[in-house]
């Protein structure tokens, strides 16, 4: 089979411009396909607790519904739980513009226990614990805003009003934290606020409420079991909970937008249809131009089936090269994305791309390949060929706008056809 590889690839170089354009459209389409399917894979994946050492417990109805702080000791009492912290989304805007970054009101000591990935000098931790209006910022965030320790940072919360009715909260920056490795360092674009000032300062009716609980487990292999145990504890109570992995919790934010899977699949379908159409036209044209050449192959002793495989292999090679380029580009793009978008080209994504190549090859390559197979040498040497049913249909679909255009311009609808 390898001896035909040169022949197949040389077929692709026949019309370099057309091959390049088709290759580029395939690559672009597969880049999009790779990215979209990676998003799909992320969202459609079942809750996976495997290897997860941190869980988030939220109200079963919605993460926007706060849970009372009194649940904390009960969660702590669940066997296998190592530490629990609480976290409340603050929703503050910094400065005049629309400078938004995530801020969470937390208990500093508990934060340190549940997020050992954040590194900060010991005296900064002590300051955060002891400063009622203290805040710490991630390195990236601090550098972006030019903050230094001791700065007062005013945040205008669009969620929380103070007891006096004001929305502007002032926080004293007492520490700047780093991530424990390069991956975590990329995530240092957030800020933690001391829960002390937050809880005392807010409207009395809202006091004593935690947003969600962050649960550190002793044994990651028991995460699923511990999550179920926590939720079981509050079943049929006024505060039913939903415990999930940290990643699942983050995806929940985006899921509020709608059925991501459906949206992604619709876009993927549209992309696939476009490349199907483009590549189909290109392959069909390529074969029609080479009808006498294909007849020569048959004269030389190639069987009808061998000629069919040659055309199909050419189509496969084009689709495969386009898909490979597209998927590699998509992988590169995914690697460059910030950690808030944890999409990767996993085995599922590559499998979808591989299956797409095969389906595309069959849908696009089979009609011209069958035409090539059916060629009668004597007719084909004179450039005459019959269409396969599908190719005929496709050709009509392409011709229709052209005929309409000719009709509008009063031109003859068909050129002089060959008369045997």
């Amino acid at each position: 089979m390898l001896k035909y590889a040169g022949l197949v690839l040389s077929g692709l170089t026949r019309k370099k411009l057309r091959t390049t354009l088709t290759f580029l459209s395939l690559a672009a389409a597969f880049t999009l396909l790779g990215l979209l399917q990676a998003v799909n894979s992320l969202f459609s994946g079942a809750a996976d607790f495997l290897g997860v050492n941190r869980l988030i417990t939220q109200a079963s109805t919605s993460f926007t519904q706060p849970l009372p702080m009194r649940l904390l000791p009960q969660i702590e009492a669940v066997p296998g739980v190592q530490a629990v912290s609480h976290s409340q989304f603050f929703g503050g805007i910094y400065g005049e513009g629309r400078n938004f970054f995530p801020q969470f009101a937390v208990n500093p000591q508990r934060l340190r226990q549940t997020y050992p990935e954040w590194l900060m000098p010991e005296d900064n931790w002590r300051a955060f614990i002891s400063t009622q209006d203290g805040a710490i910022a991630g390195r990236l965030l601090a550098e972006q805003n030019g903050w230094k320790i001791g700065d007062i940072i005013p945040l205008n919360s669009f969620i929380w009003t103070k007891a006096d009715g004001g929305r502007t909260w002032e926080w004293r920056l007492v520490g700047i934290f780093d991530g424990r490795d390069a991956e975590w360092q990329k995530r240092t674009s957030l800020m933690y606020l001391n829960y002390g000032q937050f809880d005392e300062g807010r409207n009395p009716g809202a006091r004593g409420l935690a947003g969600v609980f962050v649960v550190q487990v002793e044994d990651p292999s028991r995460s699923g079991e511990i999550a179920s145990a926590i939720d079981a504890k509050f079943t049929n109570s006024a505060e039913e909970t939903k415990t999930q992995s940290e990643q699942e919790f983050q995806l929940g934010f985006i899921r509020q937008l709608g059925d991501i899977g459906l949206i992604v699949n619709l876009i993927t379908g549209a992309v696939f249809f476009s490349i199907l159409f483009l590549t189909g036209v290109a392959m069909s044209q390529a074969v029609r131009e080479r009808i006498p050449e294909l007849a020569v192959f048959k004269c030389l002793g190639f069987t009808d089936r061998q000629v069919m495989w040659l055309v199909l292999a050419e189509c496969f090679a084009l689709c495969l090269l386009g898909a490979l380029a597209g998927m590699l580009l998509a992988s590169a793009v995914m690697k460059g994305l910030p950690p808030e978008f944890p999409i990767t080209a996993d085995a599922f994504v590559w499998a979808v791309a591989g299956a797409s190549v095969l389906v595309l090859t069959l849908l696009v390559g089979l009609p011209p390949a069958l035409t090539a197979q059916r060629l009668k040498i004597v007719d084909a040497l004179n450039g005459r060929a019959g269409d396969s049913a599908l190719e005929h249909m496709l050709r009509k679909a392409i011709e229709w706008p052209l005929l309409a255009w000719r009709w509008l311009r009063g031109q003859p609808l068909r050129p002089q056809e060959f008369a045997p």
């Binding site: 040169g6 022949l7 040389s10 020569v296 004269c299 030389l300 002793g301 004597v378 045997p420």
Partner: protein, 236 residues
């Protein structure tokens, strides 16, 4: 490229009452009417006749790229009119070499690769294919242009590459359809001399369709067709 063969007890090409008809809509158009013809091994036959006389149809039938409607067509004792599509393809690969008026070389392949094409159907190694193609190109006097693509060669050079391609698998019959139709007189004479040399020195049986009486003079005999019937023969 030569092949030792025992003396044939029967003609290499044996044609009896060969008929070919085409169906065009409701009309049946018979283009060959009961042709009888024998071509011994090592013969060089020119088929001549006016347009529409059926000479190309007869050539196509002998080359196994078209099938007769009726009659008998034996080549080397084998009824090729009874072979299936795949059997006929294998027979063509083994027995026939084709030379066309418009050369029909693959434009994206070099002369060397064009000549190697028929050998892809064999079990030969890549090195052996290269070697065989080089020998064939040398035989037709164009070894120095092996790396060139068809559009970098003159008409005469392209036809030489096509002849090398037809020869490379050492077929018994060369089927030539107007091989000099696109060439000037001088180049045509060179190509015809080459064909004559292949016939005389290497014993290749050649069947050639031509309109050109001067080209026909290179053959050992000329068979004339008119309106689908064999009318006369001339021996040179």
């Amino acid at each position: 490229m030569s092949r030792e063969r025992s003396a044939a007890l029967y003609p290499l090409v044996e044609i009896r009452q060969l008929t070919k008809a085409y169906v065009r809509g409701k009309q049946v158009l018979e283009v060959l009417h009961g042709i009888n013809l024998d071509i011994p091994e090592g013969d060089f036959v020119a088929l001549m006749g006016p347009s529409g006389s059926g000479k190309t149809t007869l050539l196509n039938l002998i080359g196994g790229i078209d099938s007769p409607t009726d009659g008998l067509l034996k080549i080397d004792g084998k009824r090729i009119d009874e072979l299936s599509g795949d059997e006929l393809a294998a027979w063509r690969a083994d027995t026939v070499g084709f030379i066309f008026q418009s050369y029909n070389l693959m434009p994206v392949l070099s002369a060397q690769k064009n000549v190697e094409l028929p050998l892809l159907l064999t079990d030969m190694s890549a090195a052996e294919r290269r070697h065989r193609a080089s020998v064939a190109l040398q035989l037709v006097g164009i070894a120095d242009r092996a790396g060139h693509k068809p559009n970098e060669l003159s008409g005469g050079q392209q036809q030489r590459v096509a002849i090398a391609r037809a020869l490379v698998s050492d077929p018994r019959i060369l089927i030539c359809d107007e091989p000099t139709g696109d060439l000037d007189r001088k180049t045509a004479d060179e190509v015809l001399t080459l064909l004559q040399q292949l016939n005389r020195e290497f014993g290749k049986t050649i069947v050639m369709v031509t309109h050109d009486p001067k080209a026909a003079e290179y053959a050992s005999r000329t068979v004339y067709l008119d309106k689908g019937t064999l009318v006369t023969e001339a021996v040179h």
